[in-house]
Symmetry: C2
């Protein structure tokens, strides 16, 4: 692959770059089972996608709060509900990056790849995460769908990034742990890389990812090795 052929790398943020496991502890700290952290995050995305079905959108933080309130209605936290909601939302602002992220991002940047991030969360939350991980300076753009017409996986979200950044869709590689994100990106015309940290099966109903790796470090090794085709 020549330098000109190389795709602009588009990283998803929540769970792809951020390690959300500390959220378990935040839920435990308000007196409910830590596993509800996963329920909460799946619910926030579920609500965001339900709105996207209608071409509607709300900020991530609005859905994040409402879904925490809904969850705490059937599983009352110790202390007040609003205090518990605030505690959880605050923990989201302090999540770390995954262990494989700093080395992987630095390696890709040193190899001359253009790096961007496109999140369904807020740009400020993504910026904070990348700052804490010591890699913010390697990203040319850190953008949120809050500036786009719709959340990912709607095609409009990827198209908006293409327009905002001045990069054609077929010149971008979407990188995510979520198959729904890669499916949407592929439908929009992007190439895709799946980060699979847990050896999960890739859903049969989603557009097959062009690359499959176990983390950002392995992604860097694969992309830096070059090759004309982005295939496994």
């Amino acid at each position: 692959m020549t330098t000109d052929d190389r795709p602009v790398l588009v990283f998803d943020v929540n769970e792809t770059l951020s390690d959300m496991r500390p959220l378990h502890r935040a839920f435990e700290e308000v007196g409910v089972p830590g596993e509800l952290a996963q329920t909460w995050f799946a619910s926030v995305l579920r609500e965001g996608f339900a709105l996207a079905v209608h071409g509607e959108a709300q900020p991530f933080s609005v859905l994040a709060k409402e879904m925490a309130r809904t969850l705490f209605a059937s599983r009352p936290p110790t202390g007040g509900v609003e205090d518990a909601v605030a505690h959880v939302l605050d923990a989201v602002q302090r999540l770390p990056v995954h262990a494989d992220v700093p080395d992987g991002i630095r390696s890709l940047a040193e190899a001359g790849f253009r790096l961007t991030a496109l999140t369904n969360g807020s740009a400020a939350t993504a910026e904070g995460l990348l700052e804490r991980g010591g890699v913010r300076q390697h990203f040319e753009h850190v953008s949120s769908v809050e500036d786009a017409p719709c959340w990912k996986p709607a095609s409009e979200a990827y198209s908006w990034a293409s327009g905002a950044w001045g990069v054609p869709l077929d010149g971008m590689l979407m990188i995510a742990v979520h198959p729904w994100d890669l499916h949407g990106a592929a439908r929009a015309g992007m190439r895709t890389a799946w980060i699979d940290r847990y050896g999960a099966p890739y859903p049969q109903y989603a557009h097959t990812a062009d690359i499959r790796v176990s983390g950002v470090r392995e992604l860097a090794a694969r992309l830096n090795a070059g090759g004309a085709e982005l295939t496994d």
Copy 2:
């Protein structure tokens, strides 16, 4: 309200009529925390809605299996993954109705309301649930979006039911515990009733429900009391 003015009642099925709490035990029986039952269900809907954003659809059972496999990849069950998936899916087929359902449904049927059900799950699963609850005979139609172009909350799902049953959208009352379902139904032109068993807040971003009740028994009391307007 005269008999002719009364809406055809459209019940959502999963969580609205079925009590999903026994699923916690099914997850515990395969050696993982029971709370993952909620994560699993939220994830199945999240995936279904992500496809609906593109106008695509898959059977509920396909997403149910894939999401159980994904969950069990990071939280390995005792015994094999496929055995655990089968155990959970089997438990879904044996869920009971909520305690307020039998009396409420019988009361509505005796008052002469036309009752239907529209599920994102399979029609067979819904039929089985209503049979176990002893109320199947009161439902004129038990239909699945698997026969529609798309899952709820896409407008096409409600429109399909309107066509299949020969009932205009504005002559139907959608009844659900999920605000996303009511929001979609309201956008499609239906009236809506929210069943709120846990005193949860109604999300500010969803179309306000015309009626709010704590269960099907209270819904029957409210509707049987008549009144020209379906308002709180």
